[in-house]
């Protein structure tokens, strides 16, 4: 008899953490993975956030290059700004700044590591805790008895019973669908993200990139594209919501690859394309329908990636733990009702993931309107930003005159920039500082003030001897 206390569908980071937690709590636990091993069907997100080390220190200190040879610390990030002519108009490199408050976040922004190595690594913790893993097993439906969830069934009609099922099956979740929690995502809740993996020698990456093992290519001609370096290679990918594409996503990714600047980088790194991947990544304002009678959804299946940057591994691990803890309580109370399982929402909302979603709507809106709206926004944002960053160190005019030129140039972007600031920046600030916006500053006044200040800048400066 295949009877368990808890069933987990999916052997990604979320499923493995749920299985580890459940087994540690003494539950008879099984988790299923459709790949021949965890990580074989990974969803490719490879930058591990430092909050993992903060919250799960004893586990994370065991992540070493011996176990995951592809590890490379993303100690610094490059931000390239590509204008509408496809020219890299400038770039900024940043290390973690002085306000960052703990290690390892002070040392690096992300720890990069292929998921084909990370997912089996984290699954081992579940196995050590006593959970059972069934690989090469596609779960196709939920079992129901007297209208209640009673387990799962695989494609060969093998049945596994448990009073509670955790959906850790990623963006296209069978558990979400069969439990009636969600048939499909709305088009503005899900992105598609194609990605190339390039091979390059570790020494060249060390020499050419140094600490700068992360990059974002902000652009007016493609949605923001990220670059993540590993020990012997790198990813280049980009995504956008399913209702935002006017051409094939690969057309835009190839635009990055075909930039003159990028081609030079490929040549200097002597990089060769090695793999092509594409995945869906849920990206929403706020998770909804996270549980029902006998079912809890975690990680991507529950829509938990961060609303700003879609960091999803940490949220999957945090919600996996919260779901297993809720399940253990439900088992003790012998109560698997939706109402009882709402403890899950209380739990995750108290975590760092819950805190992230407090400004979920504002973060989501600004991000979507900025790097993911290349034509509408980045066409003015990139030149405006570069005007500020790069304009002054220019020898074409006396510097005071340059400042006036720059100011007048910036003024010309204001008809587009001001509405943007009003619509996206102020609401975000108001949310973050938890204060009514008009108490901080009156946007109406500010709106009328900024252009006036710009007008006050004299066109010509009086000469010193004239005064």
């Amino acid at each position: 008899m295949n009877a368990y206390d808890i069933i987990i569908v999916g052997g990604g980071p979320g499923g493995s953490m749920a299985a580890k937690t459940a087994a540690n709590l003494g539950l008879k636990t099984i988790f299923f993975e459709r790949g021949r091993k965890p990580g074989e069907k990974n969803s490719s997100g490879c930058g591990l956030g430092p909050r993992l080390w903060k919250d799960f220190p004893s586990m994370m200190k065991e992540l070493t290059p011996e176990k995951c040879p592809s590890m490379r610390a993303g100690s610094a990030a490059r931000n390239y700004f590509v204008n509408k002519e496809g020219v890299v108009a400038g770039y900024i490199m940043n290390h973690p700044t002085e306000s960052v408050s703990y290690e390892p976040a002070k040392s690096w922004i992300t720890m990069n590591c292929y998921r084909s190595e990370f997912d089996p690594w984290i699954a081992d913790f579940a196995l050590e805790a006593g959970a059972e893993l069934k690989t090469s097993t596609l779960i196709t439906n939920l079992l129901k008895k007297d209208g209640k969830i009673s387990g799962v069934v695989d494609e060969h009609n093998n049945k596994y019973e448990a009073p509670i099922v955790i959906g850790a099956d990623g963006a296209v979740s069978m558990v979400a669908k069969q439990s009636g929690l969600r048939t499909k995502w709305a088009l503005d809740q899900i992105t598609v993200t194609p990605q190339y993996d390039f091979q390059a020698s570790p020494e060249r990456i060390d020499d050419i990139m140094g600490d700068e093992a992360l990059a974002v290519w902000w652009s007016a001609i493609f949605p923001a594209s990220y670059q993540v370096f590993f020990h012997d290679g790198f990813h280049q990918g980009l995504g956008n919501w399913l209702n935002k594409w006017d051409k094939n996503p690969l057309y835009y990714l190839n635009r990055v690859i075909n930039l003159k600047y990028y081609q030079r980088l490929i040549r200097t790194l002597d990089a060769k394309p090695r793999e092509l991947q594409s995945h869906l990544l849920p990206w929403l304002r706020y998770p909804y329908n996270t549980h029902t009678d006998g079912v809890i959804l975690i990680g991507d299946a529950g829509g938990f990636p961060c609303p700003l940057e879609a960091e999803g591994i940490y949220p999957a691990i945090v919600t996996g733990k919260a779901a297993a803890e809720t399940a253990a309580e439900a088992i003790s109370a012998d109560n698997f009702s939706k109402d009882f399982l709402s403890k899950y929402d209380i739990l995750w909302k108290k975590t760092s993931v819950g805190e992230e979603f407090e400004a979920g709507e504002e973060l989501y809106n600004i991000w979507k309107a900025l790097p993911f709206s290349p034509q509408e926004t980045m066409t003015w944002f990139v030149p405006m930003f570069m005007e500020v960053m790069g304009g002054i160190f220019d020898w074409s005019q006396p510097h005071a005159k340059r400042v006036r030129q720059i100011a007048s140039q910036i003024k010309s972007y204001m008809p587009k920039a001001l509405p943007f600031i009003m619509k996206y920046v102020f609401p975000l600030l108001a949310k973050i500082f938890e204060e009514d916006l008009d108490k901080m500053m009156d946007p109406q006044k500010l709106m009328s003030a900024i252009p006036k200040i710009m007008d006050l800048l004299p066109k010509k400066k009086k000469r010193r001897d004239e005064t």
Binding site: G35, Y114, L138, E155, M174, W185, N248, E275
Partner: protein
Amino acid sequence: MNFNDLTKHISGSVDYISIDQNKCNRCGQCILVCIVNLWRKIDNIISISEDYKEKCLECAACYQVCEADAIEFQYPSGGTGIVFEKG
């Protein structure tokens, strides 16, 4: 770049993507989002390439984008289909 050189598949799956012509409204969204161009429109009929199991990235974008619910999608049989070694 040739996609086949950049992907690795294990064969043996049952069919896992199908289209219901009665529901399809020929909007072309599946064609637009498929990274490896497996969907096509011939004589105003939308269909998926016959060798899709050897090429599909299993992203499910075609399924997700279809607002007419004309595409049936399930992952390929356990232990088959695409393998991401560097993902």
